[in-house]
């Protein structure tokens, strides 16, 4: 009986604190997340955002390579690496040819107007979203685009903290971004869980011959960074609508070599 009363009393106090949490939520919601922003702007000592993924995995000591056997193994590895590099050279030549073919796309990105801040994902939160280094300290803003080494858009900045930011990547279910093709058709690219759904919101010219969907200044984005390539995807042209679906599994990028694109305001 005594235990039962004690438990009920505990429940009541728990419920009071749950209501207290809800009141904090209401306050934060109606102040446009001003409270949480103030905390996250001022606190930068509780999160190790300068840590990179490779740092976690540095178990190997360089001393290990001192022994004769290891040197022989290293020699074999280097030999394989040379062979691999030869293969890569051939691949590189092929890519150069492809690059020339896409000259129109490359020329349309005016690299002088932007600068790129290298960042890296260092933690994944419970909502499966990645946090990357750099935040208010590096002047990140909401909806800043994130590109990979090839210049393709892989996500955008969602929430900014003092020294880190939350990113919504292409493979997140919350991903949604407008884009433009070379014919001036406007698109919305959305993640529906298993596929990246690409469909027109405004049509200028009905065609299936679409290669890339770009970012565009009309959507307040830095101009002409490719978001998705539809060259190998099946494009459907219906009555006044162009659409396509890309499997999420086909999209792969490194979370360690990504860049935030910022507009260069200096003359």
């Amino acid at each position: 009986m005594k235990d039962g009363n004690l438990r009920v009393r505990n429940y009541i106090i728990f419920v009071i604190f749950i209501l207290f949490s809800f009141s904090i939520m209401v306050l934060d919601f109606f102040s446009n997340q001003e409270i949480s922003s103030t905390i996250s702007k001022r606190m930068n000592f509780l999160i190790p955002s300068s840590v990179n993924f490779p740092d976690y995995l540095e178990f190997f000591d360089t001393e290990l390579f001192q022994t004769r056997n290891n040197l022989i193994n290293e020699n074999i590895r280097l030999k394989n690496e040379v062979l691999e590099l030869r293969k890569l050279k051939i691949e590189n030549d092929l890519l150069k040819e492809e690059l020339d073919a896409n000259k129109n796309l490359i020329e349309s990105v005016d690299s002088t107007n932007y600068f790129y801040i290298k960042t890296t994902a260092f933690i994944k939160n419970n909502e499966n979203k990645y946090l990357v280094s750099g935040g208010y300290d590096k002047n990140f803003e909401k909806n800043d685009i994130v590109i990979n080494e090839e210049g393709f858009v892989v996500g955008f900045v969602d929430k900014i903290f003092q020294n880190h930011s939350e990113i919504i990547f292409l493979d997140d279910v919350d991903f949604s971004m407008p884009g433009l093709d070379r014919f001036g058709n406007e698109y919305l690219i959305q993640n529906n869980g298993s596929q990246l759904s690409v469909y027109t919101t405004s049509v200028n010219e009905l065609t299936a011959n679409i290669d890339f969907i770009f970012t565009a200044s009309i959507f307040d984005q830095p101009g002409r960074f490719p978001i998705v390539s539809l060259s190998d995807a099946k494009v459907t042209v219906d009555d006044n609508k162009i659409s396509s679906n890309i499997d999420i599994e086909e999209i792969s990028f490194s979370f360690t070599d990504i860049y935030i694109v910022k507009t260069n305001d200096l003359p």
Partner: protein, 156 residues
Amino acid sequence: MIYLRNLLSIIAFVFLLFIELIINTILNFDYFLIMPFFIGMFIISTRRFSNFYISVFLVAGIYYDALYSSNILGFSSAKFLITMILMNFIVANQQNNTYLDLATFTVGIFIYKFTYSLEYLNPEFLYQILISSLVNYFLFRILNITIGKNVLKQKI
């Protein structure tokens, strides 16, 4: 002394939450998650349920919301406290057995992982929760057996 104990508990659970995030970032398993913070929460709510831990989970939730997510401040605190109260309610009103423990654990993880996103209803996510429940419950049992065995009290 009580305040010091409270402070140490807060630091321990905040650290456990941080460790949970780090582990799942590094291992990045598709089918399950390792949840030391949730295991700690389960132990507290089913074995050591007390008002003492309210502040611990309140602060842990605020810490998580303020530094790791775009949630509204207080969302995770409320979620942690609701999870605890519900898990305690299920266990306290039934006879103790492994199946009930596992069922409570699964219900707890289901609430603990709640997000206001479409992903919550994704079958893959639900599958991940089920697998995570089994894996983490197994870890909890191992921990429980280890803690339960006090070598100093063993008769020679």
